[in-house]
């Protein structure tokens, strides 16, 4: 194993982890803040990719695709929260089931609208190149993903941890009724959180569509990854989601590179182990 191997594989893992962070941070937000186990989160990722794809086909603009994907899926999230999930507030299991129902419907709708063929989202020329450093070659696009994830992570951290809005969100989680009783517009807060979480997943979907592609089944393929990240890091903890996504990205990458025959275990066995030792994840609180 040369140094080159370790550097390149670490880079691969980091960039994959960065993509996972985009996906998982939204899940963690919805999950931690609203106690909703959103099994439709993978669908947001997939639908975001599809919307982005359609926009690129029409306009040729990758930026437009990012924006449109995020906005469109945020609207879907708003609709789901406003019209359906809100009625079940506090009923964890009912909400889980409902999001499964949505996930199934989204899966079928995507099939109906975009057909079952796999696609990749064409990238703008600026993101297509390769950055070389000596013998090492880093695809520009993967660097781009790392940059985006870092920016998103920083912005989220500032809002949630440093502002009154963040505290209001958490208050709404702790005691929804009483939060209203101190004047917090809980319905608006929930809606905002849900929209943001959905938009983040969609952003991940468009960006992921550039190198993982957009295809039916992507929804349920990425979902376990997102959950592993969030759980390993600890529910609703933003630092947890960051560490979790990096850990999972690296673990998955090195697992596949070094022990491909164990790849069905390299993700889940460590997760089971972590949870067995720390039943609330690395950063989670009971």
């Amino acid at each position: 194993m040369t140094a080159e191997f370790w550097i390149i594989q670490t880079f691969n893992g980091l960039s994959y982890g960065a993509l996972l962070f985009l996906l998982a941070s939204g899940l963690s937000l919805i999950f931690g803040v609203m106690r909703i186990v959103n099994l439709a989160h993978g669908s947001y990722f997939m639908l975001g990719g599809y919307v982005g794809l359609s926009v690129v086909w029409r306009t040729g603009s990758f930026t437009a695709a990012l924006v449109a994907g995020a906005v469109a899926i945020a609207l879907i999230g708003i609709g789901m929260e406003r019209l359906f999930l809100r009625r079940l507030s506090g009923q964890t299991l009912g909400q889980v089931l409902m999001t499964i129902g949505f996930a199934l419907m989204f899966q079928d709708l995507a099939l109906l609208i975009w057909g079952g063929d796999p696609y990749t989202i064409p990238l703008p020329a600026a993101l297509q190149g390769i950055v070389t450093a000596g013998a090492l070659r880093f695809p520009t696009y993967r660097i781009f993903i790392i940059v985006v994830a870092t920016l998103v992570g920083a912005a989220l951290w500032i809002v949630l941890d440093r502002t009154r809005v963040g505290a209001m969100i958490r208050a709404a989680v702790d005691d929804r009724e009483m939060a209203q009783g101190v004047g917090i517009h809980v319905p608006v807060v929930s809606l905002g959180v849900f929209a943001l979480g959905a938009a983040l997943a969609a952003l991940g979907g468009v960006i992921g569509g550039g190198f993982l592609g957009v295809y039916p089944g992507a929804d349920f393929e990425v979902l376990p990854y997102a959950f592993v990240v969030v759980i390993v890091g600890g529910l609703g903890s933003l630092p947890g989601a960051m560490v979790g996504s990096l850990l999972v990205g690296l673990l998955d990458n090195f697992g596949k590179a070094l022990f491909p025959e164990l790849s069905y275990f390299t993700l889940f066995a460590p997760m089971a182990l972590i949870l067995a030792l720390r039943p609330t994840g690395l950063f989670g609180r009971a």
């Binding site: 191997f5 390149i8 594989q9 691969n12 893992g13 960039s15 994959y16 899966q107 079928d108 099939l111 057909g115 079952g116 063929d117 796999p118 696609y119 990749t120 064409p122 390769i130 070659r137 695809p139 696009y141 993967r142 190198f211 993982l212 592609g213 295809y215 039916p216 089944g217 992507a218 393929e221 998955d252 990458n253 090195f254 596949k256 590179a257 491909p260 025959e261 790849s263 069905y264």
Partner: protein, 395 residues
């Protein structure tokens, strides 16, 4: 155990088709269905003076569901012929059902070698292909014509990948080549970077086995990693099958593969078929479409041969095994003793013609059997190709 009765003679001839219409493989299921319907449409759903009825069931790409649906087709709909299926496991699972129910069954898609080699079923006829069939041809051709000496193989880590790589490696090495690295990618991979970056740079070429979205992702990431211009890419037929080719970009140009079909095949039957298929489905036919079209015709030819008396199952089965035609879109086909087609294998290269990618045929090998040039009995004494067989002495 239903004897033919006058009463049954009156009803339609029922064909039960299992296809994945929902789930990740639904695009393939759609092609299967369109291909089948296209042929039956062409004959006005009439054969040997009887109406033909097609009953389609969704397998979700899941073998347990496929089994349940197969039971439904056989037990409730009382179909005369059972056909379809996508996954190898579905093939193995349907074998005992077909044998127990004594129901004539055809496999247009499922390609696992042993279905017609070490574990054939009396009641099952394969109208498609098997995984290593075209790869035997391709391995020899690559060694002899391209004269590559060292090759890295990379493929999906399950039976289809093993059998395709195995077939290629066997004839490639029999003809003087060396496989210097075998990389297996788990089925749940969508980021191929960890694998692509490991490919040994001293290779003359890379041989890849993928299908569906994995093919798309792999070819794309092969380019992104900067390998495309430097190490030529070869593959099995599904890697550039028309089910994914139109969604690929220039990164696919130049990839060479082998299969028993190409949508660009230049024969009248295929020209007619491809045109009709495009009119019906709005896209060029994949091998899934062709094989199901051919499969439908195959069944109808057998029905005709027995004068429409499909209630006589033994006769129908015998007829299915006797079909031998020269004008399928894929070319002439006959069937061997184990129930597998003997057919042309085409070596193809991805070219851009009229702004669109296509699999241009650059070499044709006629009447290739699943045992290639090997003696069937000797061949069958060897174990099935797996992850570790044939071994890799040069890795």
């Amino acid at each position: 155990a239903v004897p033919p009765t006058a009463h049954a003679q009156g009803g339609p001839i029922k064909i039960g088709l299992l296809a994945p219409l929902t789930g990740a493989a639904s695009a393939l299921g759609k092609d299967m269905l369109n291909g089948t319907e296209l042929y039956l449409d062409g004959i006005g759903f009439q054969a040997a003076g009887r109406k033909v009825e097609l009953i389609v069931e969704d397998t979700e790409g899941n073998t347990a569901t496929a089994l349940t649906k197969a039971r439904k087709l056989v037990e409730q709909d009382k179909v005369h012929v059972l056909t379809g299926g996508l996954l190898a496991s579905t093939g193995y699972a349907l074998h005992p059902l077909a044998e127990a129910q004594r129901i004539p069954t055809t496999y247009p898609v499922m390609s696992s070698d042993d279905l017609t080699q070490r574990k054939p079923a009396k009641w099952v006829v394969r109208t498609g292909w098997n995984s290593s069939q075209s790869m035997h041809v391709f391995g020899e051709w690559v060694a002899k014509t391209l004269k590559y000496k060292r090759i890295v193989t990379i493929g999906l880590d399950y039976a289809f990948g093993w059998e395709s790589v195995g077939g290629f490696q066997r004839t490639f090495e029999d003809n003087g080549g060396q496989v210097i690295q075998k990389i297996w990618t788990p089925l749940n991979t969508n980021d191929f970077a960890p694998f692509v970056t490991q490919i040994k740079r001293e290779a003359d070429a890379v041989f890849a086995v993928f299908f569906g979205r994995a093919a798309l992702q792999f070819v794309k990431q092969y380019e992104t990693a900067g390998l495309k211009g430097r190490v030529p890419l070869l593959g099995n037929g599904t890697t550039t099958d028309e089910s994914v080719l139109p969604q690929m970009g220039d990164e696919a140009l130049g990839i060479m593969t082998a299969l028993h079909y190409s949508a660009a095949l230049d024969n009248p039957a295929n020209q007619k078929f491809a045109k009709a298929f495009e009119a019906k489905a709005g896209k060029i036919p994949s091998y899934y479409a062709e094989t199901c079209y051919t499969n439908a015709r195959w069944i109808v030819e057998a029905v005709k041969a027995i004068g429409g008396r499909v209630e006589d199952r033994e006769a129908l089965l015998a007829a299915l095994r006797r079909v031998e035609l020269r004008d399928f879109p894929r070319g002439p086909v006959s069937i061997d003793r184990w129930g597998n087609p003997v057919q042309n294998i085409y070596v193809r290269r991805v070219d851009k013609v009229g702004g669109k990618l296509q699999n241009s045929v650059i070499a044709t090998f006629p009447a290739v059997s699943q045992f290639w040039k090997y003696d069937p009995d000797e061949y069958l004494k060897q174990p099935l190709y797996t992850r570790d067989h044939p071994p890799c002495p040069h890795c």
